[in-house]
Every structure is written in structure tokens, then in C-alpha cells.
Amino acid sequence: MADIAFLLLIFFLVTTSMSTSTGLSRRLPPPLPPDQPVPPVDINKRNLFVVKVNSMNQLMVQGEEMQLKDLREKVKEFIKNENDDPTMPVKVRMNIPLLGEMEVTKDHVISLQNDVDTQYQAYINVQNELVAAYNELRNELSQQKFGKLFDDLADDQKEAIQDVYPMKISEAEPKNYGGAK
């Protein structure tokens, strides 16, 4: 008995690797039909938040140079648009189940553009900050409305929060700006 158990034990010991896969999930846009022209992008300029990463891994946010650590606050400010700033996304009144009437910046888009020579870690860092900004906003709102963290909410509550802060990150095709050296 113990021999068989030992045998199995050793087998599993050898094959074990305790790594669990983790990562940042994303959804890609569906492919365009090949014979059609690119549809004109109909996004109001004030709804667009542009983050560019160049080949030196430097950040350009809304036309200004920025450090990675300042990005999260800036993104949060943009998505929230508390004071209805005309340079920030349009607020739309929406009736959301569980939360009632709310003003939501539902049409905002965060556009992340990178250079061909951008380092992968730098790109992931930026992605990470963007996701962190969304997570913080969602946590703040769920604390305020339900007194719990977003992860601990029931499914319908989660959906309501997601309606207020939908995650909209667009990963455009890379451009070769500032790459000529």
C-alpha cells in the first residue's frame, strides 16, 4: 500500500510545477473585411484620451510628456470628469439598475498607441496603470454605493458598476513616430 502511494507521490513530485498563470485580459476588435475601406472613426475629440509610448519607452499623454506614476490619476480624472470639464468626455444621463439616474461618460475611449520598438515591459506597465485606474474607480464607487469592494459584489451589482465605468481601451496599430534615428 505504502509502496504504491510512494510511487504516485514521487511521480507527482516530479511533474509538479506550482506556477499559476496570471495576466491582463483584453478583447481585440473583430477584423475588418479586407475589401472595404476603413470606416471613418466617429469619436468626439473630447471623448478621446491618447496615450503614446515611444521607442525609448517614454510616455506622451494628451500631447504632454508624462511620467508613468502620474498616469493613473490623470486617467481617473478623465474617466470621472467630475466638474463636467469641456475638454473631458461628454456625460450622458443613464438609468442604471440598482443605482438609478447617473451621469456617465460612457463614450470615452482610451487609445493606447505604441512604437514598433517599444519594450514589452513598458507596454505592460502602461496597460497595468490603465487597468488599475479602472479598478480604483470601480472600487470607489462600489464602496460608496454598496459598502463593499468591487470583487465582493454580487453579479448584478458588478454589472451596474461596469455600466458606470465601462472599460474602453483601444490598442491601435503602431505608428513609427519618433523612431527615426
Binding site: 509538479t16 495576466g23 485580459s25 478583447r27 520598438d117 514589452y120 488599475a132
Partner: protein, 159 residues
Amino acid sequence: MAQIRKDTERETPALATSSLPDIIFMFLFFFMAVTTMKEVTFKVRVMAPSATEVTKLENKSLTRYVYIGKPMEQYAKAFGSETRIQLGDAFADVGELHEYIVAERTAMNENDQNLMTVAIKADKNTKMGIVNDVKKALRDAYALKIVYSASKKTAPTNR
């Protein structure tokens, strides 16, 4: 008449082994529970980038991996030291990605096909150019659920 034996020398009793199988079984179940089989043999070196906001991959059986990195030393002679893509157990080109994804998807259960996730496991020093090529190929192959594989960073270093 009762006799009280008086031994001059006392022996320590042998170790009780009757509970040994139980202990071994306990170990066995522990390892069985935590075991994940190795997916492939790596031919490219991948040091995953780190991030703080990572989520766990839910459905391992529906996840396919695309490895991007520099070839290991033993393959460097044959495949050079440029960043390469590995699909399954072999090196591949971006052009083969479409075929691979379609083949993997048709092999899946019909209900699971649109739940297929592709995890991009790229080395942290990879240039985004090749990652973008992969992303574009995945998009064309309608593999739209992707995961940027990253390891959990406990203490954020950027603040």
C-alpha cells in the same frame, strides 16, 4: 503468585509505522491537488513582465499559448538569437499562427469555441513590433480573447 519482573536493561520500542501510509497519502493528495502538468517544453526563453493588476486565467483547458522570446542557448545555433515565436512544441512564423489557431479551435468542443483564450507569453524585453504582428494575426483569426501573461508584482516599484 504474581511476579514482578525486573528487567535490568530496557529497550526502546520500535517506531510505529502503521500510520505511515496515511501520512504518505496526505502528501500524495497535496501534490495531486497542486500539480499542473507542464504545457510544453520551452524553446524560447520567456521572462514574464510583472504587473500589479493581474487576474487569474480561468479556463486552462481553453487557453492556448503563444510564446515570444529569444531561442534558448541550445537552439541558438540553428535558429539564431533573434526573437522568435513558439507555438506548441515548435518554432513558428507569424504566418503559421492563423492556421494554428484555426486548427486548435476546430479541435475544441463546439460550445467552447468562442470561449477560447489565447495567452501571449512574451519576454519582457521583447520589442512591441513582433507582439503587434501576433496580435494582428490573432485578430484576423478571430481569436479575440487574449491575455497578456504577466506575473504578479507584490510591491509596486513605480511609486
